[in-house]
């Protein structure tokens, strides 16, 4: 789960990381009032969960409250990479001397957190890693020991930060790590961390990604989820314990198991089709779960056929078939449906479904080809 800049920075501030004064606004009037309050120059920043806000014109400087208001009007009317802007953050503008990158994330290969710093702040760190890998400095953190002061000091010295700022930098690094651990984050980054012209260190922009599996420990953070920012169908699916990701194609897929669901998408593509979604219904496909899943798939207007790929392992195929039949009674649709059932009691399951005018298939390849053909026929 991604957090907005303003949410991330609030969390950082709780752990002692200095951030600019500012507040979030949903209207131009609010933005004007906040700018008034702050006094002086402000920056108006769109709050959307995508990168590249600056380039898209979603981050602008205002010299007066009036200008802040009119920029807010403008930005609140924008779409950035398809996402409508519904909030802006109005921050005091900082006079920047230098920009640093500082982040902490999980290193999957090393199986521990890694803290990364670079003197090249303000740009995407992946970009720096590609073009100037020697400008990226890393320390790996023992998850049982936590970040140690010498590790932060090593980073400060590696990015050649002026000595007078080391103490503050070490505090910021420690605060960032605490924020990351205490929030069950998978990423916590400050980019840029700036040294201002009056020699302060300030987290100008912040980003956090939280581990969905850790949210049960953090009901307060779970509430920060911005439903405006996500595909409504994905949120709907999550409510029912389903895992759904919308794609661009026209073949809806319903599969039990994440790996098999991906493989199903891949096979559709391999035979020339285009999957409309990833959908894992998990184990034990009850009628209710199948019905909800089917509704979610069919809400996507691009869907012209649905492919069911169910591997009956411990669940029996005839049971799943009955689940599908019951679901079909609840859902009104006339797109062709192709079912591939395999595993325990597959014959019984297939017989049940054939009666229901569903196209049955024996293999995944067979199912994919039949689905593609069904669309062409329709």
């Amino acid at each position: 789960m991604k957090l907005h800049e303003y949410q991330s920075k609030q969390i950082f501030a709780e752990y002692g990381v200095p951030i600019p004064k500012g507040r979030v606004a949903t209207t131009a009037d609010e933005a004007r009032a906040i700018a008034e309050e702050l006094g002086g120059r402000v920056v108006v920043k769109s709050q959307v969960l995508v990168g590249g806000r600056g380039k898209a014109g979603g981050i602008r400087l205002a010299d007066s409250p009036e200008e802040a208001g009119s920029l807010a009007t403008e930005i609140l009317g924008m779409q950035i990479k398809g996402l409508p802007v519904r909030k802006v953050l109005v921050d005091e503008a900082a006079s920047i001397a230098t920009e640093i990158y500082l982040g902490v994330t999980n290193d999957r290969a090393a199986r521990c957190p890694v803290m990364i710093a670079s003197a090249e702040g303000g740009v995407e760190i992946e970009e720096v890693a590609r073009t100037d890998p020697e400008k990226i400095h890393r320390v790996w953190i023992d998850p049982l020991l936590g970040l140690r002061e010498y590790q932060a000091r090593y980073l400060a010295s590696s990015i050649e930060l002026a000595r007078e700022h080391w103490r503050t930098f070490i505090q910021i690094a420690s605060g960032l790590y605490q924020a990351y651990v205490s929030s069950d984050a998978t990423l916590a980054e400050i980019n840029p961390l700036v040294v201002t012209e009056d020699d302060r260190l300030l987290a100008l922009d912040g980003k956090m990604v939280l581990d969905d599996n850790g949210l049960f420990r953090h009901p307060d953070l779970a509430e920060m989820r911005d439903l405006d920012e996500e595909e409504p169908a994905e949120g709907e699916a999550r409510k029912y314990g389903l895992s759904y990701v919308r794609l661009d194609g026209n073949i809806g897929c319903m599969v039990n198991g994440a790996g098999l669901a991906m493989a199903t998408m891949d096979v559709i593509k391999f035979f020339g089709g285009a999957p409309a979604n990833f959908l894992d219904i998990g184990g034990g496909a009850t009628a209710e779960k199948v019905a909800v899943a089917l509704e979610i798939i069919l809400k996507d207007a691009h869907v012209e056929a649905v492919l069911f790929n169910i591997f009956g392992g411990i669940t029996r195929c005839d049971e799943v078939a009955r689940g599908i039949l019951a679901a079909l009674e609840q859902v009104d649709t006339n797109v062709p449906m192709v079912v591939r059932l395999v595993g325990t009691n597959e014959e019984a399951g297939r017989r049940l479904l054939a009666k229901a005018e569903m196209i049955t298939a024996t293999s995944l390849a067979d199912a994919a080809k039949k689905t593609i053909a069904a669309i062409k026929e329709a």
């Binding site: 990701v245 790996g259 991906m262 998408m265 891949d266 411990i314 395999v342 325990t344």
Partner: protein, 287 residues
């Protein structure tokens, strides 16, 4: 021969009185696995599976009393880290964690602790291990595979069943099938299992089933090139997965341009691994 488990493995089930734990304990026992004990805090002294399997309050007592040497965990995600550590502290040498949804920071701590103790963890978020005709520890349906000479290792659940089933359909059997799980940080990697298969006389060919996210497949490719003499066939799921989206498994995500299926396929092919275009091709490539 086989790897990790066989008829002599003495299995302990953590969370045995839960719905999942109890069902799969009985499935394991029915398959012929020696299920010797269960643990559920507060239920020590009860008996399950027709009064044949004693339940203990702590893993230590279960191990002391029954000599269990392998534990399979079905507890809820919030208790999983503690359950793994408890088993490790009690001296269990092989721990299989089925539980899905364990926080990644818990797993980083657990891995760090287990590495130092030398305990082997398989999972979490995995279907477990099946040695056809020998034993099963976890939830892989026993009837979908027959004994044979193919070692199977996979990050996925049902996709693995799919492959086992396709093998069986062609009369091919498995030595052992190991589901290492779909989480970004887990106990056992492809390399760990590949090295065991290489050393196992029963295993003559190997299937590796990967998916998007991380670089475990790339490291496996390197390992195959440097250390493996047995033929390896692969399949990688997620070629059509969009970047930045988690595909069900916590670990199945393309991030910052890494973890792409295409890169993994390329890495495997470059070291001589035949990679199937779709799962049903796997038996053909093995033949």
């Amino acid at each position: 021969m086989s790897i990790l488990i066989d008829k002599n493995t003495r299995v302990l089930v953590q969370g045995i009185t839960g719905r999942e734990g109890l069902f799969h304990a009985s499935q394991m026992a029915a398959y012929g696995t020696q299920v010797v004990a269960g643990v559920t805090p507060g239920k020590g002294g009860e008996w399950v599976l027709d009064g044949k399997v004693p339940v203990f309050d702590t893993v230590q007592r279960a191990v002391d009393t029954t000599g269990a040497d392998c534990s399979v965990i079905f507890v809820p995600a919030r208790f999983a880290a503690d359950a793994i550590l408890e088993a490790a502290d009690a001296g269990v040498q092989l721990i299989v964690c089925i539980t899905e949804g364990v926080p990644v920071q818990d797993m980083m701590k657990v891995r760090r602790y287990l590495d130092q103790k030398g305990t082997r963890l398989v999972g979490p978020n995995c279907p477990g291990i099946l040695t056809p005709g020998g034993a099963k520890v976890g939830i892989i349906p026993g009837h979908i595979a027959i004994p044979g000479n193919v070692g199977v290792v996979s990050r996925s659940g049902t996709l693995t069943y799919e492959v086992l089933y396709a093998l069986k359909a062609k009369g091919m059997g498995a030595s052992t099938c190991v589901g290492i799980g779909g989480d970004p940080i887990n106990g056992t990697s492809f390399i760990d299992v590949l090295s065991m298969f290489e050393a196992d006389p029963q295993t003559e060919k190997i299937v590796i089933i990967g998916e998007i996210g991380g670089s475990d497949e790339e490291r496996a490719a390197e390992y195959i090139s440097d250390h493996m003499t047995k033929p390896v066939v692969g399949f990688i799921a997620g070629q059509t997965a969009p970047p930045g989206k988690r595909m069900g498994h916590a670990g199945a995500i393309v991030e910052g341009g890494t973890g792409l299926a295409a890169d993994k396929i390329k890495a495997l092919r470059s070291v001589g691994v035949k990679v199937a275009d779709h799962p049903e091709q796997v038996p053909d490539l093995l033949a």
